[in-house]
């Protein structure tokens, strides 16, 4: 797999424009990162929609309050996830003392378990679940047509001709789009994987 550095210049530019109150920059942030951030949080909150919405909202309020501290040394999405993780941990700490149903199932493990049991040894199901989360979040971070094209091809098994028809493009243009989509997907997948790696390192320290 060809390695390409994450697009930090684009992230720094986005933050600069957000600080300049550029509405287009906000719209770009929302379209690019909101779904991935939501999915990141939802998995750690057992998919509770109300709680997830609250945590994501709090995360974004905090992010905007300290936007000027983003240095652009790592991907912006990773920075968002780090803030979100803090909000989740604060939430569970406030709940400490109340019974929490800690479970291990196909959806994954709650944040309390990660914090309380740093020596927890993941098994195959958890690894598969984590991989699925990375893939799904990475797809959320892609432009819509890239994500859909990849899913049509590799999840639904459609041919390039069929995808071209859905996208209303020629077949060559569709091939070209798929090539760009794969490259972008690899970048985003690495970003998400690195974010989770940092998470695990913090939990074990």
């Amino acid at each position: 797999m060809q390695r390409e550095p994450p697009d930090l210049d684009a992230d720094r530019e986005l933050v600069r424009r957000l600080l300049d109150a550029d509405q287009d920059a906000f719209d770009l942030l929302a379209s690019r990162h909101l779904r991935g951030l939501y999915r990141f949080a939802a998995r750690r909150l057992d998919g509770d929609p109300e709680l997830t919405a609250e945590i994501v909202q709090r995360t974004l309020v905090k992010v905007f309050a300290k936007l000027s501290t983003y240095r652009g040394e790592g991907a912006f999405f990773g920075w968002l996830c780090a803030c979100c993780r803090n909000e989740i941990l604060m939430h569970f700490r406030r709940r400490r003392g109340r019974p929490v149903a800690l479970g291990f199932d196909e959806k994954g493990v709650g944040a309390d378990a990660l914090v309380a049991s740093p020596s927890y040894a993941p098994d195959h199901d958890l690894m598969q679940s984590e991989t699925a989360e990375r893939v799904h979040v990475a797809l959320d971070l892609l432009p819509d047509d890239y994500a859909r094209a990849l899913e049509w091809k590799y999840t639904d098994g459609l041919s390039v001709r069929e995808i071209a028809s859905r996208l209303d493009l020629g077949e060559k243009a569709t091939e070209s789009l798929l090539t760009r989509a794969r490259a972008k997907f690899r970048d985003r997948y690495r970003e998400v994987r690195d974010t989770q790696t940092h998470e695990a390192e913090r939990d074990s320290s």
């Binding site: 300049d20 905007f64 936007l67 799904h136 041919s159 077949e171 794969r182 997948y189």
Partner: protein, 345 residues
């Protein structure tokens, strides 16, 4: 489903394996995402406005002398034309516009004023609506000559200034006027948090036991502070804060029944064209106004209403008034459709 484009390609294998392993993405709740997006935008605007507001404030200080002279001159001109709403006198913070049912006022070390339309209220005035009899009651005030503040029944507030109101129990509705302006923000203070407007129409409801605070936003944005934390609620949403500071959010339609009591104490339509009446109806009811044709909209804009419509509430006025202008109104869900009257076609 394969074709000549799908020959094995090592460059695709990594992506193929990952997506096959992961399977389809679970769908996300689009309504929640939209609410989060809107509220995040409010928070972002609030943060980025702070940096530029400091610059504008410095410029304003230099111009305040000139601006004050102009405002006084304009105010006098408007008053003579009869277009401006009367403002409280210096020392007063509010003017009563509507008083219904059981409404009482008290001022420390002063005789209690009678509350009727036109009564002026000083800072420190305590207001209560309703009593044990359960008589439906309400008050509509004009704070500082600009902001509409309405009190629901069973409500107790203290007017600290023309921009700070303490809500002890019950519910208040605030309308700071359409669009953003440079007015000083209105603060509604409660034991569970302080709601500050960012150019808006909103209500604040503190339950009698002080267990829960509800802030509903009809237009604009409201910032709610509880201890050191704050949340911003945008139009079309409600925010609920409990004693422990836990915040819950949910959607709130501009025409939800929660706004009903505020319509009941709405100040009467001050007069104008049919279009202005419909605009007033929209603000008060939360209905969307839709004109069937451009000509219909033009007729509404150029037709002036003669005579008083003060007795008509906002959700009845269009149905009573429009036929006189050759128009008719039909309510479809929360949309008021205005069209030529059928017998005029």
């Amino acid at each position: 489903m394969t074709d000549r484009h799908d020959t094995p390609d090592p460059d695709q294998d990594d992506v193929r394996r990952l997506l096959e392993l992961a399977g389809p993405r679970p769908p996300l709740p689009e309504d929640d995402l939209e609410t989060i997006r809107r509220e995040a935008m409010a928070a972002w605007r609030s943060e980025t406005a702070g940096a530029s507001r400091a610059t504008r404030a410095n410029r304003r200080i230099g111009l305040v002398g000139l601006a004050a002279a102009l405002l006084i001159a304009l105010g006098l001109a408007w008053w003579l034309r009869g277009d401006i709403r009367p403002s409280p006198a210096p020392g007063d913070v509010a003017l009563v516009e509507v008083a219904k049912g059981i409404v009482t006022a008290s001022v420390p070390r002063e005789p209690s004023p009678q509350l009727t339309a036109g009564t002026r209220l000083a800072h420190g005035t305590s207001l209560e609506t309703g009593d044990e009899s359960g008589t439906p009651s309400g008050l509509a005030l004009r704070l500082g000559g600009r902001v509409s503040l309405r009190l629901a029944t069973a409500t107790h507030v203290t007017l600290r200034s023309d921009s700070v109101v303490e809500l002890h129990r019950g519910a208040v509705y605030v309308d700071t006027g359409s669009g953003r302006s440079n007015h000083e923000s209105i603060e509604i203070r409660t034991t569970l948090g302080t709601a500050t407007d960012l150019g808006t129409r909103f209500l604040v409801d503190l339950d009698p036991r002080g267990e829960e605070l509800v802030v509903g936003v009809r237009e604009g944005e409201v910032r709610v502070r509880h201890d050191a934390r704050e949340a911003v609620a945008m139009a079309g949403s409600r925010l609920v804060v409990d004693r422990t500071g836990v915040v819950r959010r949910g959607p709130l339609s501009p025409s939800d029944d929660l706004w009903r009591w505020a319509v009941d104490v709405a100040p009467p339509f001050p007069g104008g064209t049919v279009a202005e009446l419909l605009s007033w109806t929209r603000r008060e009811t939360g209905w969307e106004i839709r004109y069937a044709t451009a000509e219909t909209e033009a007729v509404a804009a150029r037709t002036t209403i003669h005579g008083s419509v003060a007795a008509l509430p906002p959700d009845e006025a269009p149905f009573a008034i429009l036929p006189g202008a050759g128009l008719e109104a039909t309510l479809e869900e929360d949309v008021l459709v205005v069209a030529p009257a059928r017998d005029s076609n």
